[in-house]
């Protein structure tokens, strides 16, 4: 096939898979592939779309208007979902399993896979938003003096006030005790820290210490402050809740300031269900300031990081992993 014929095939808008002649030509050599790609992309960029009638454009605009301001989840999320059916055999955003603990109260367990978010209303009317890769265990109904739940991962709690029945979030051996308030807990088992972030009200952060099961060191968290317990050093830090805190839970956007690439990579991995591999330790220490949205697609995000980085870096995708190199 000469290049005239090749161009002719492309301008006929023939899909590659539908033309045996084209497929054979392209597969013949790397040179041919390159030539095809060059013409194909040039042709694609040359499209003016003037063929589209006004009605189709208007319909498109209506569809967009109906769905702006987050009223629709990104279509890409839907695509991601049906891909997930194949990869993980998971279609819905979460699983619910029932299990008996002492055959009196059924426990509900919700697991939110990476790349998903969900919210749940607890039996007392309290609401919890759960982030990626998070597990929450709670009883079908709260009985006894305490309202106990178990969390592994990240959740934002809006707890209904009930001073007679304190609400306790158990995170591993530590716990957060509240009467009624809004707060978030970040406690992934594989993270080095446990974090409680309080919006309003009052919470008590009990850090397990000492030999007995019931010995805790207790810390009060102030409103609009967060308390971080470092599991390795055993130290406790207090800081003010960052500006973008509400956006993260309500709109799914995460604002970061001078955050290291390493730390961001952990978050990105949870949000997008990818593994990030750095070829060089220096890359991990680079810092970024900006915003990322849970609904962004990962490609857009990597491009943003790439353009925001002072020093260049490259990345490539390969079966669920992102390799980052200099």
């Amino acid at each position: 096939m000469d290049s005239e014929k090749l161009i002719h095939k492309i301008t006929e808008k023939k899909a590659l898979k539908d033309s045996e002649e084209l497929l054979n030509y392209v597969s013949e050599s790397g040179e041919n592939t390159k030539e095809y790609i060059r013409y194909k992309t040039l042709w694609a960029m040359l499209q003016t779309g003037n063929e589209m009638d006004e009605e189709t454009v208007n319909q498109g605009y209506k569809a967009v208007k109906r769905n702006v301001n987050g009223r629709r989840k990104s279509i890409l999320l839907n695509i991601a979902k049906y891909a997930a059916i194949v990869i993980l055999a998971v279609s819905a955003g979460y699983f619910i399993q029932y299990r008996d603990i002492d055959s009196e109260i059924a426990m509900n367990e919700i697991f939110v896979p990476k790349g998903n978010r969900t919210s749940v209303v607890l039996p007392d009317g309290s609401k919890v938003w759960l982030s990626n890769g998070t597990k929450l265990v709670y009883p079908e109904s709260f009985v006894g003096d305490f309202r106990n739940v178990q969390l592994e991962g990240e959740g934002f709690f809006e707890v209904i006030h009930d001073e007679h029945h304190p609400f306790i979030v158990n995170v591993g051996e530590h716990r957060i005790k509240v009467l009624g308030t809004k707060f978030a807990v970040v406690a992934y088992p594989d993270d080095d820290e446990v974090k409680a972030e309080l919006v309003s009200g009052k919470i008590q952060f009990d850090i397990h210490s000492g030999a007995t099961e019931e010995s805790y060191k207790s810390f009060m968290v102030k409103p609009m402050h967060s308390l971080v317990y470092d599991k390795t050093s055993g130290k406790v830090y207090e800081s003010i809740i960052p500006d973008g805190f509400h956006d993260y839970w309500q709109k799914g956007t995460y604002r970061f300031r001078n955050e290291s690439f390493d730390s961001l990579a952990t978050k990105i991995a949870r949000i997008y269900n990818v593994e990030i591999i750095f070829s060089d330790e220096e890359l991990k220490t680079r810092t970024f300031t900006g915003t990322l949205s849970v609904d962004d697609n990962i490609y857009t995000l990597m491009e943003v990081f790439k353009s925001a980085s002072g020093k260049p870096f490259g990345y490539k995708f390969d079966s669920g992993k992102i390799y980052i190199d200099k």
Binding site: T48, N50, V57, I75
Partner: protein
């Protein structure tokens, strides 16, 4: 087709819906036809709508139209890549060699497509120059076909030449562009639209 005025860009930066509508109606068709080159027709509209929804929600600020163009094309490109990636996974167990090959080549093509602002700006003058160097008839055919979006048959009728002759002229124009754009090649040419 006209380019956007500065006023519209400023209004867009202020998140004015009317300006957003103007931008949508100008760019939606060409982005859909761009996407159609790589993804099934049924998906192309959704993927482009998604880019616009995200643009409205994120309120990016644009200094000039090149930035806007770069933003939109980059987003649509990435959405197409995401689609291709999932399509590949979805059909993994189907032993359709042609399909897998197409997916691989389209992915490679999109990955290599530079949609950054700088490139858009640089290439503009090159295209303008190349167009001016084309023989008259060739340029005429190319403008009618690519800028005004006429079908080959319509171009043939308008210029009173055969459809074969139209095809030949388009091929000639693409080859010329290819030579002068060899460094940038897979880039843009819808910038042609801005060439008076």
């Amino acid at each position: 087709m006209k380019a956007l005025t500065n006023e519209i860009l400023q209004l867009l930066n202020k998140h004015q819906e009317a300006a957003f509508e103007v931008v949508f109606k100008l760019y939606y068709p060409r982005l859909v036809y761009f996407a159609k080159e790589f993804v099934p027709d049924s998906e192309s509209k959704n993927l482009v709508q998604d880019a616009f929804i995200s643009m409205w929600d994120k309120k990016p600020q644009f200094i000039n139209e090149s930035q806007l163009q770069s933003y939109l094309y980059t987003n649509v490109k990435n959405n197409c890549l995401m689609f291709l990636r999932h399509e590949k996974v979805k059909k993994k167990y189907k032993s359709e060699a042609a399909f897998q090959k197409q997916n691989q080549i389209y992915t490679e093509a999109l990955n290599g497509l530079d949609t950054s602002t700088v490139t858009f700006q640089e290439i503009e003058s090159i295209i303008e120059k190349t167009l001016s160097e084309l023989p008259d008839r060739c340029r005429e055919v190319f403008i009618l076909s690519r800028m005004e979006g006429k079908k080959n048959k319509e171009v043939a009728e308008a210029l009173d030449i055969s459809v074969k002759a139209v095809e030949a002229q388009i091929t000639k124009a693409l080859k010329t562009l290819r030579v002068s754009l060899k460094d940038y090649l897979p880039l843009v040419a819808w910038l042609l639209i801005n060439v008076k």
